[in-house]
């Protein structure tokens, strides 16, 4: 048993070596979902930058939120015999046949940011973040910052029922579990938008004695936090001091708020999915190192000590 597996592994290695004559990817196709959010635009920008740095020719296809466009793009990449394909899938299902075509053409496919519902052997690896982990990082920061003092937390949830909202809530709750001094007193959806974040925060402030009962705000994304900061200011309180603010995503605008002392911490959902993807691809093509099926990106915590103004300057041109 053990023996035959080794042989298959060797065979695969041999084939890979034959399929990649230069042992380095020259041309990579990238099928992007679209540009529905600033984060996605930044992901596209960073992928282009990463490819350029490594001397890879990137063939880019914008699917405008349509799976059929993505499938078309994949088939055209296969026809052009690219060395590898990056795919940010718009939906989870319906990929089996086109992925099989890529496999038959010996073109490795790496999934970015989202998963598909297909047999694992049809793609090389998937690069993405762990949403639960992000929530946990945010919660840990608050636990460490508050210490033993009692702290009432209000939570701005993402769109009700969406997986980021469910997972980020769960991770945060895991992190604060066991710390009796931390308590979520109000939790309401802000639909991931600034306008709703502001409106819901206004009601939190009204409901909690003008905000004087509130010690910290946890927002499932930065946009809602930016809206909430305005509401807190309009209520005559100082965001960042009277109410601690921690959120997730690390979009440029939250660094402006942190630089102004109005926000305390954010957890990065990195748009640089392409970096780890290219690393794994290089290793695979060079010496056949088969990467794990899921590569988790770093969920980096930024606080006011991380020179937010400089981070803003770095991030603002990424297309967020």
């Amino acid at each position: 048993m053990q023996c035959s597996k080794t042989w298959i592994g060797l065979g695969a290695l041999l084939m890979a070596a034959l399929a990649a004559p230069a042992a380095m990817a020259q041309t990579v196709g990238f099928s992007q979902i679209g540009s529905e959010s600033g984060w996605r635009a930044a992901e596209t920008t960073l992928t282009r930058m990463q490819a350029e740095e490594r001397g890879i020719t990137l063939k880019f296809a914008d699917a405008q939120q349509k799976q059929e466009n993505q499938i078309k793009a994949l088939r055209s990449f296969i026809a052009q015999d690219v060395d590898a394909i990056l795919l940010a899938p718009v939906v989870a299902t319906g990929w089996d046949s086109v992925l099989r075509e890529a496999k038959e053409a010996d073109i490795p496919v790496i999934l970015l940011d989202r998963m598909v519902d297909a047999p694992e052997d049809l793609y090389l690896t998937a690069v993405g973040s762990d949403l639960v982990h992000e929530g946990r990082v945010a919660g840990q920061w608050l636990v460490e910052t508050v210490g033993d003092k009692p702290c009432n937390i209000v939570e701005l949830q993402g769109t009700t029922g969406s997986s980021p909202a469910i997972d980020r809530k769960a991770g945060f709750e895991q992190a604060i579990a066991g710390h009796e001094n931390l308590k979520i007193i109000r939790s309401q959806t802000g639909d991931f938008t600034r306008a709703k974040g502001k409106e819901v925060m206004e009601s939190f402030l009204k409901a909690e004695n003008g905000g004087r009962n509130i010690c910290a705000l946890y927002a499932h994304n930065d946009d809602m936090a930016v809206g909430a900061i305005q509401a807190i200011k309009e209520a005559g309180l100082k965001p960042g001091q009277d109410i601690l603010i921690v959120s997730i995503d690390a979009v440029p605008d939250i660094f402006l708020a942190m630089a102004a002392g109005e926000a305390n911490a954010t957890v990065e959902l990195t748009p640089n999915m392409a970096g780890p993807a290219f690393d794994a691809l290089e290793a695979y093509l060079k010496n056949g190192t088969v990467p794990p099926k899921f590569i988790q990106t770093e969920s980096k915590l930024y606080t006011q000590n991380d020179d937010p103004a400089a981070v803003y300057e770095q991030k603002k041109n990424l297309g967020y």
Partner: protein, 341 residues
């Protein structure tokens, strides 16, 4: 005098509903009616309702006129996104406040003209004609903002969303003054009559010499203009133009406000005042839900239930039953009286 009483009778059901909702919210959240003065601005949930209700109230003004002509304007949410995007990008390019507002409102008028021409000149059904801009409009707004939230910090523009006069937020003044102005224009001139006439019977109105095409285009322009104002307020409120989310689904709230206000979707008689009260009813429900502290999974269910109750109570059958009950009681009383005398 007489007309005043009749007007009051027209909005009585809406006022009663609003009062009932407010009492209900106060029961769930006791501090609801507290208003205090902080930092020179009035602070309290009733003020929030007036302030947060501004976009839907503005949309409802235009929507009332459109619905009175037997039309409907589904594009107002998208027009909000467009005008917000235009305002943000204009101010970002260094244009003055006046020029920025002129451009943003102009964009709304242009959208209105587009809708109006599709409906009045090409004869496309309003729901289909405005659906086009509803879908395409958000894309246009995204093109303007290039997919990102376009932030700005021009104090004049921000004042429209967050500034206060005499302690009251600016958006409150904008929708109340717009409502008064439009209400006065349609009732003091003959516009109201002509609009209602078109809504009841377009062909007969045309034969009576009403310039139906121009008038139809005009009401869609009014709707576009109201939507543009709402869009500028929404953008100024969050200090940025969010093309993806600004005014999302608000067209449905605006239609609902008009319906709660008692204007028939079949056109004809309308009341802007009643629609505005309708908008405040919707916002009171929204704010009440947020204050209540129920988990967000119940938001939509609670809202739908309350609105269902309102619409059932306002349905023709219930109103007829209510009137009949009152009449029976009255005649019964009269009979008793005559029996005793």
């Amino acid at each position: 005098m007489n007309a005043g009483i009749r007007a009051l009778g027209r909005i009585a059901p809406q006022l009663a509903t609003l009062a009932a909702i407010l009492i209900l919210v106060a029961a769930v959240f006791p501090g609801f009616f507290d208003i205090s003065l902080a930092n020179g601005r009035l602070y309290g949930s009733p003020i929030d309702i007036l302030n947060r209700g501004a976009p839907v109230a503005l949309l409802a003004i235009g929507m009332t006129l459109v619905i009175a002509t037997r039309g409907i304007d589904l594009s107002v949410g998208a027009v909000m996104a467009i005008s917000g995007a235009v305002a943000a990008s204009a101010i970002a390019q260094g244009l003055g406040l006046a020029a920025t507002l002129a451009l943003a409102l102009g964009a709304g008028l242009l959208c209105g003209i587009w809708n109006g021409i599709l409906v009045a000149v090409l004869g496309i059904q309003p729901i289909v004609a405005t659906l086009i801009l509803m879908v395409a409009g958000r894309g246009i707004a995204q093109l303007i903002t290039e997919g990102a939230i376009l932030t700005f910090s021009h104090p004049g523009l921000l004042f429209i969303g967050g500034g206060t006069i005499a302690g009251l937020p600016m958006p409150v003044f904008i929708w109340i003054i717009t409502g008064l102005l439009v209400g006065l224009i349609v009732r003091r001139t003959a516009l109201g009559l002509l609009i209602e006439s078109i809504g009841v019977n377009l062909r007969a109105s045309r034969l009576a010499g009403i310039n139906t095409k121009i008038l139809l285009v005009a009401v869609y322009m009014a709707s576009g203009l109201c939507a543009a104002m709402a869009g500028v307020i929404a953008a100024a409120d969050i200090r940025g133009a969010d093309a993806n989310n600004a005014g999302l689904w608000l067209e449905l709230d605006a239609i609902l406000a008009v319906v709660i206000g008692g204007t028939s979707l079949l056109g004809g008689r309308f009341s802007i005042l009643a629609s505005l009260i309708g908008a405040m009813i919707i916002q009171s429900v929204n704010t009440g839900i947020l204050l209540s502290g129920f988990p967000p999974e119940f938001n939509l269910l609670i809202k739908a239930t309350i609105i269902l109750i309102i619409l059932v109570l306002q349905s023709p059958r219930m109103v007829a039953a209510f009137r009949a009950g009152r009449r029976v009681r009255k005649t019964a009383e009269a009979k008793e009286e005559s029996a005793f005398s």
